[in-house]
Symmetry: C2
Subunit: 410 residues, 2 copies
């Protein structure tokens, strides 16, 4: 958790229990800005976007320059809820705008939880005065906790970076531990910064940062109807506004934004539903980056690969089997495979080569088993064809994943 000293100035946060969740756990978070912000966002590509996603897309198009905050509920996704769901998302935003004294069309809405159930609007609206009253600069930990569903830990980071010669800050929260897959915005994340960046550049930077972070993780290959990453920038750092993508200032900003997004993304994988392992899949030598990403992704989402990681089973043939069905250009005679691994947060064992140009090597079984038994496993697949490379982070597939998802609603 971060202290109030380091978080981005100008924002207040809160998280309370509105009793949308039967458990009574916190389920309503509010992030509010004292000054108008610029906003950028990345949304799910699922063909069934939830009502809040539809609402936020319209809001972002209509008013990206003068935003005052975001209200987030957990416990109900407000997805597949038809016209009633759309009305409920709008009513929620309007109630918050009224409560915090913000202008019309200045508050975003996010929801996460069960699909196909209407929001309990009586409870939600009744809780808005309380969540507004709870707003304070160090309310981020409460907010991070209130957006959790099957997450076991809140995810909150603050980074300080130098952009355009000026110290700027980033604070971000995220939730998500299932229905997570690259090539989509991940589940919910709210990022705020005090950097001054024009709105089109803010959007470009967020898209780039999400591609390097949230779009590189996979827990189960499924993608939510609600995935949203929202970035609010209030400009209070006082840096000279970054005007275009040409200079070094923009590169610094993207790098800093990518860093906090990567921390949040990796925290999501580490807290993946039932996850017991953190696995990094590197694919190099593909025909291009897109093919490398597809290969890494197919490995990262293969149930057979993920159960082998869970069991600590050095069943490396499954890794190549997954690459082989990725639908990319592969020459088995050029393919090599390496594995490493180690404890979290300390040095990993050196890489062990298992396959060299299509031929299995006579490695010692104990050496392979030792690596697959680690909590963090690193896989490197060399395709030997071209310059394409990609890295994807994933978790294993455990008994607990099945338990959690077999009875999510009950």
């Amino acid at each position: 958790m971060e202290s109030a000293d380091t978080i981005v100035p100008g924002f207040d946060a809160a998280g309370i229990a509105a009793h949308i969740k039967k458990s009574g756990d916190p389920d309503l978070a509010l992030i509010a800005s004292r000054v108008p912000c610029r906003a950028a966002a990345v949304f799910t590509r699922n063909a069934f976007p939830a009502a809040p996603v539809l609402y936020d897309r319209r809001l972002l198009a209509f008013n990206p320059e003068s935003v005052h905050g975001v209200i987030i509920n957990s416990g109900c996704a407000n997805a597949c809820t038809g016209v009633q769901g759309d009305a409920n998302a709008r009513a929620t935003a309007e109630a918050v705008e009224l409560a915090i004294g913000a202008s019309d069309h200045s508050v975003f809405v996010m929801s996460t939880g069960v699909i196909g159930v209407q929001l309990p609007m009586d409870k939600l609206l009744a809780a808005i005065p309380a969540v507004t009253a709870a707003l304070c600069p160090d309310g981020w930990a409460d907010a991070a906790r209130a957006i959790m569903t099957t997450d076991t830990r809140p995810k909150l980071f603050t980074h300080i970076a130098s952009v355009a010669g000026q110290e700027v800050r980033f604070t971000g929260i995220a939730k998500g531990s299932g229905m997570i897959h690259p090539d989509m915005a991940t589940l919910l994340s709210v990022l705020v910064t005090d950097a001054a960046v024009s709105q089109p550049l803010l959007q470009a930077a967020l898209t780039q940062a999400v591609n390097r972070s949230f779009n590189r993780i996979s827990i189960d290959g499924d993608t939510s109807t609600n995935d949203t990453v929202l970035l609010l920038a209030n400009g209070l750092a006082g840096n000279a506004e970054i005007p275009d993508e040409a200079g070094e200032d923009y590169a610094e900003f993207v790098a800093a934004l990518s860093a906090i997004c990567t921390d949040l993304a990796q925290a999501i994988v580490r807290d993946g539903e039932g996850a017991t392992k953190f696995v990094t899949i590197h694919v190099n030598g593909a025909a291009n980056d897109e093919q490398a990403h597809r290969a890494a992704n197919t490995v990262a989402t293969s149930p057979l690969v993920k159960t082998a990681f869970y069991g600590g089973d050095a069943n490396w043939g499954r890794l190549l089997m997954a690459v082989g069905r990725a639908g990319i250009q592969v020459d088995p005679e050029r393919c090599s495979l390496f594995v490493a691994g180690g404890p979290a947060g300390s040095e990993h064992l050196p890489e062990l080569q298992l396959v060299d140009a299509g031929q299995p090597l006579a490695y010692a079984e104990a050496d392979a088993a030792e690596r697959f038994a680690q909590v963090e496993i690193d896989v490197r697949i060399e395709l030997g064809l071209g310059p394409g490379s990609a890295t994807v982070w994933t978790s294993d597939l455990s008994h607990d994943y099945v338990t959690i998802n077999g009875a999510y609603r009950t």
Copy 2:
């Protein structure tokens, strides 16, 4: 199990323990034809085909008209085994040709089991005299048993059909309960028939039948390096040879072949690794059949959908979520969803509609829960866009799937 009276005449089968498996369970099967057969086959599309797949592809191209049998081992896939693996596949075929007195290049080879390990050729070659000696017309049950890996039951069917006014027979065995996915040939299946069909037509018919059966099932979305379906036809039924695709005779043959393939394919799903449910996914109203198939497939392979089936959880939002990420044309406002279900082998409950044109219906939760709690669940998704439709059969994702695959090699 079938009696020797009904199986296809002219073929002998056997299954014995060659001690390739540590367990001592049967692991070597031989199917031999007393007369030369025509052969057709469908192979995996995985980019890392196993050595026996490479061998069989060459053999089918070289000699599709005068085939004498197939040798199949379980316990070792001979996949990702480099040049040594290629030599071992060839040596196995040659040893069987010698043992059964068949001409050169007339015996196919199949392997299934762990990837990346060389065949124990000493054990395998030493067992060939014994498996040859065991050949007999009613050895099919032994053969079906010897090709099992994580299968819990042998899969053997015999069908009698009328083709070109003549009674013809089909006998088939199959194995496979993990690494199974549509759009590829499934795991191993050997089919024999006494119908007289020209070789090019035999291949066309097998491809069609596989597309209607084995390519419509999914257990875990993974695809093996070894998947092979082989069809041998000895012509002993004495029907007038089917000469082309134009007439009704060919349609009858494809229908009969599809029927036995569907029985085998559904038996594989019912015996899927850890499977506790048999789920049928119908998608109608897609822009075309290919899009319908992709949607049905995405639903059938979604870990969140499959764990909900396992838990008997009426979490139908996950079904739409999966359709939404299938990458097909979808209009949420036209999408409707129905569910039914029942016990295996008896009448199912009537369909319950959950969503109508994008709007969730006020169905009784108990009615939905009752259907999702059945051993067989039927899902129908209507996209309302076009004439495309597809049906896919799948299983649930259970704790046992994780147990089986977390420690497959150990």
